[in-house]
């Protein structure tokens, strides 16, 4: 009897406290804004998630005292993601960044149940009143790396280790190829698919295979540093992706397409703090500072560095679009008439190789 009464009393107390804290929520305006981040892989020391975490740290520093951030790493895309996102929402987080494509449906689902919380989903396409999406024009950096590759290759063959044949990856392969051939019309690009975002063993084997098939410049669209390391060991050139990977290939890495989320995260958080946030669909590039080239290796001659710098400026100013017609796919079909540039709608569903990429695209 006695214990039951105590349990009941404790329960009532707990409920009371919970209600009290709910009521206190809006009143305590001074309390820092809680911001949550959901990461798809471990942070590690380079790669997709590492860059998001750098962005989180920059934002926290820029808004010191006004925000409190927390992240959960290595969250699989699926039911686990929904649980993690809901936990953030239920624990007083007012802004949640979900940083992988596969978090799209879980984010939308949780957002419907928590209309007062702002969700920002990276690389997806579904929005809602309280769900904004953001992505970066990675292909702009790829184009510039391609220009460098075209100037630095001796055998006119570049190797590309890629994860899955989805539009985002194809934009990268095609932009790299177009950049390379803009300065070296004889150049060709060979692609090997690993069918995994993160499998260092396969990535390394794929890189070694491309090297033995004549590629002397490599790049990759996977998450590890294996390709840059393989190039370093074999004395070839490589371009990093996501992060500056020069630590793993001080001689090999000529430059890298890096993602910069810090300024963007700061801006969104400020908007939420000020209550001015509106549903956003941001696809930023070099112009917005979301894509930057890593410092260029000293092995690249000065005239090439200058050429890349001027093209970077043109892309930033909107004078140069990597996908400008005439553009043919590698089966010879015209995809873009002379003078036209490819619209975002077409970019988002890209499903072909441009002229200069070897082989046929695997069917998904």
């Amino acid at each position: 009897m006695n214990t039951q009464r105590i349990t009941r009393w404790a329960f009532a107390l707990a409920v009371g406290t919970a209600l009290g804290s709910l009521a206190a929520g809006p009143a305590a305006a001074q309390a820092p804004l809680k911001v949550g981040f959901v990461y798809v892989s471990p942070i590690g020391d380079a790669g997709w998630t590492f860059q998001h975490d750098q962005g989180r740290k920059e934002m926290e520093k820029a808004l010191a005292g006004k925000v409190e951030t927390k992240y959960v790493e290595n969250v699989p895309e699926g039911p686990d993601a929904e649980r993690v996102i809901r936990e953030f929402a239920a624990n007083g987080y007012k802004l949640v960044f979900t940083t992988s494509f596969g978090y799209m449906n879980p984010t939308i689902k949780v957002a419907q149940q928590f209309p007062n919380i702002v969700f920002m989903h990276a690389t997806g396409y579904k929005t809602a009143k309280n769900v904004g999406i953001y992505n970066a024009r990675f292909y702009e950096g790829r184009y510039l790396c391609g220009v460098m590759a075209g100037k630095m290759t001796k055998g006119n063959v570049a190797g590309y280790v890629a994860a899955f044949p989805i539009p985002e990856v194809l934009q990268g392969i095609n932009a790299f190829t177009l950049g390379m051939r803009s300065v070296n019309p004889k150049a060709e690009v060979r692609v090997i698919w690993t069918n995994s975002w993160y499998d260092p063993g396969r990535e390394r084997e794929a890189a070694n295979t491309l090297i033995s098939q004549g590629a002397d410049v490599l790049t990759h669209h996977t998450d590890s540093t294996a390709v840059v390391q393989a190039a370093e060991e074999k004395g070839k050139y490589a371009f990093g992706y996501h992060s500056d990977m020069s630590k793993y290939g001080p001689k090999a890495e000529l430059s890298a397409t890096t993602h910069q989320w810090g300024a963007f995260y700061t801006k969104v958080t400020q908007e939420v703090l000020a209550g001015t946030w509106k549903g956003t669909n941001v696809w930023g590039g070099i112009k917005d500072g979301m894509i930057k080239l890593a410092p260029i290796n000293a092995a690249v001659p000065k005239d090439v560095v200058e050429l890349v710098a001027s093209k970077e400026k043109d892309i930033g100013a909107g004078k140069l679009h990597p996908f400008t017609g005439p553009l043919k796919d590698n089966a010879g079909k015209e995809r873009l008439a002379a003078g036209q540039t490819m619209g975002d709608d077409k970019l988002a569903v890209m499903d072909f190789y441009v002229e200069g990429v070897q082989g046929t695209l695997p069917k998904q």
């Binding site: 942070i43 290595n74 090997i192 063993g201 390394r204 295979t209 540093t225 046929t360």
Partner: protein, 306 residues
């Protein structure tokens, strides 16, 4: 033609080496009559122990030794359960694999995404400069040469030495071996530890030299392939080598097919090494008599000395 094949063969040997280690170890264990299905788990523990040690100390060899020790420690757990406590070998082995999967993922958390800096494979003096054979055989990591030495040693030990004969007799008929006065349990313990140590080295090779990185579950079924290799190779070391390199070869060939622009559905390519290895080995071992002749009679059965 030679120019394309040389890199394929060279990469094949590296890709097959983890299997060579694990399968040769399991072969010795099974010859003593112990069926340890925990190879996958032991390889994973060897991989993370080796990688963690190599990253923290910066010494790759220390990493390899740590992987070996960790694999042996895992097999010691198995030995206590099955040899001393008479637990069922199949169930204990499966449990060991599950334990290894979980433990390696847990211990490996802080090492995910960390890259290990290492030198490229060295070229042996003189031998490395031979045409064709040089780049295929003699520009590998030192651990590859160790695997060949282990192959020679295991073949000699099992079929040419007295100690090997004793070990095989323990696997065939522990009762007779015991009656003559051989310490059956101790011999089985040593064989199990040897198997665990080699599985650990196989895992360490994968994480420290081959990738070199740690990813959860990175052994990716190689432990099971090693187990299958032993059976389909009818407990013969030379056939184990053939099977291991065949698996490695098909793994590598799929990349060359892709890079060369041959369009084959990707999931099929990923399954190909497993399929090809199993099919070839089934064909080799389709003669039931050879299996019966070579398989240790008391394999998987507990033995209690009276």
């Amino acid at each position: 033609m030679i120019d394309t094949l040389v890199p394929i063969f060279a990469a094949t040997i590296a890709a097959g080496t983890p299997l060579v280690f694990a399968a040769l170890g399991e072969l010795v264990t099974e010859k003593a009559g112990v069926l340890n299905l925990g190879v996958e788990g032991m390889m994973l523990i060897g991989a993370i122990a080796g990688f963690a040690t190599a990253v923290t100390t910066g010494n790759l060899w220390l990493g390899t030794v740590a992987g070996m020790a960790a694999g042996a420690a895992m097999s010691a757990i198995f030995a206590v359960l099955t040899l001393n406590l008479m637990a069922n070998q199949v169930a204990s082995g499966l449990a060991l694999t599950l334990f290894g999967l979980g433990l390696s993922a847990f211990v490996g958390k802080p090492f995910e995404g960390v890259s290990l800096l290492r030198e490229g494979a060295p070229s042996l003096p003189l031998l490395g400069d031979l045409p064709v054979l040089g780049p295929i055989l003699f520009r590998q990591h030192y651990l590859v040469y160790v695997s060949w030495a282990v192959f020679a040693a295991v073949s000699w030990f099992l079929f040419r030495s007295r100690a090997g004969l004793v070990l095989r007799s323990v696997g065939e008929s522990p009762d007779s071996a015991h009656a003559i006065g051989y310490p059956v349990i101790r011999i089985r313990w040593l064989a199990t530890l040897f198997g665990g140590a080699l599985a650990g080295v196989g895992g360490a090779f994968l994480a420290v030299f081959y990738a070199p990185m740690w990813v959860e579950g990175m052994v990716a079924g190689r432990g099971w392939i090693a187990l299958a290799l032993v059976v389909f190779a009818t407990w013969r070391p030379a056939r184990v080598m053939v099977g291991a390199y065949l698996f490695g070869g098909v793994t590598i060939a799929q990349f060359f097919a892709q890079g060369g622009g041959i369009a084959i559905p990707a999931p099929f390519l990923s399954a190909l090494p497993y399929l090809a290895t199993i099919i070839v080995l089934v064909v080799i071992s389709r003669n039931v008599a050879t299996i019966r002749l070579n398989s240790p009679v008391s394999l998987g059965r507990s033995y209690r000395p009276d």
